[in-house]
Symmetry: C2
Subunit: 224 residues, 2 copies
């Protein structure tokens, strides 16, 4: 299960915990904008009692430069019509590496929290891409992988409701979303606004803004 | 063009030079058994006058352990029937990373020197895998990649003859094949024997054993 420390992957983690007997998470330290996201992932893995493998990956910064991995402003690239936060091949790379790890552990199910809806136009978040990738890793390692993307067709609102159904709403307090890396979140950047709208339409208060809860120790018991 | 410094990728490089106006090579330093292979790749890129991007990749050693990346003896894993030199997902990873680099450089053609014939059972060297991977990177980056594997159906003998046809035979003196990393090659390990058989059946003397040539400065002119 690929855990970034964000709202979506955290929801996907709780989906995986409900679906599978044994879950392990893999987190990539690839030079993302805010190291805080990694702290969130580690904290969430800890409170969910799942083993976490952290992979240090400096290869993307050797190959490409983009706004997600630097302090450049986030804009839309006029030529490609993709946001400047697009890291070409990032999810392909992450899933391929997760598959290499899963192969060694004989775990055929790979869970990723990507969504086609409310997304920013990333071509590696589409079902067609994931289906092709599933086939590629299955053929390339001769191992019957299945890629699960439980949020693929969910809006942010539906993701919030799924988290609620999974009893994982409280854990959203420990996720990271803000592009500016602020805590509490700035509430103004595109990521914060997208998240806020999801909670608002779902009619649920986002626990991330509840600083009392955020500062307290995380619960040590998994949701039932 | 993915250049390892071996006989196959070097032959594929000269195939690419004949086919495309502009060629660049990418080489991965991933903790392979012999650093000598990297020196060979750098020397070949230099004498072929192609820009080389060297990517340091310690992620495979974080994820997996195998004979190709250590001093373990090379054997066949009885369970998977794959050689212990199989690094799961290695070519998937290399091609995905090459595609990320090529995407930024707007280069749609990716050349790799893998072969289905005379190979050791690696599932990531099969046409079906490469076709699926081609589709995956094309979808995942929304860029029309083509993967070329000019040696896919060639035996070692045919690869030697292709190198001859391409005028690249002399350059085979600068390649690395020996599993033991010896120079001149040990001639006894499976890799040396496979190579030797290819040259023998093709009726051509392998220039790698010509130490006079090997010690001299490499030619500075590309074959016509």
């Amino acid at each position: 299960m690929l855990l970034s420390g964000g709202q979506d992957s955290t929801t996907a983690l709780f989906w995986a915990l409900q679906r599978f007997d044994s879950v392990e998470v893999i987190t990539f330290n690839y030079g993302q904008r805010h190291i805080r996201e990694l702290d969130c992932a580690a904290q969430i893995a800890k409170i969910a009692h799942v083993p976490q493998k952290i992979i240090t990956l400096d290869v993307l910064s050797q190959l490409t430069s983009n706004a997600m991995m630097s302090d450049h402003p986030i804009e839309i690239n006029k030529e490609s019509q993709l946001p400047t936060t697009f890291v070409p091949g990032r999810n392909l790379l992450f899933v391929t590496l997760a598959a290499t790890y899963a192969y060694e552990r004989k775990m055929p199910n790979i869970v990723i929290g990507v969504s086609q809806v409310d997304y920013s136009g990333y071509p590696d978040c589409r079902e067609e891409t994931l289906k092709s990738l599933e086939k590629t890793i299955t053929l390339g390692m001769a191992f019957p992988f299945m890629i699960h993307a439980p949020l693929l067709y969910k809006s942010k609102q539906e993701t919030v409701l799924l988290a609620k159904d999974l009893g994982a709403l409280d854990y959203m307090a420990y996720t990271h979303t803000c592009y500016k890396g602020e805590s509490p979140p700035c509430g103004l950047c595109p990521a914060c606004q997208l998240r806020a709208k999801g909670f608002e339409v779902a009619g649920i208060v986002d626990p991330i803004y509840d600083q009392t809860r955020q500062r307290s120790n995380p619960p040590d018991i998994l949701p039932q």
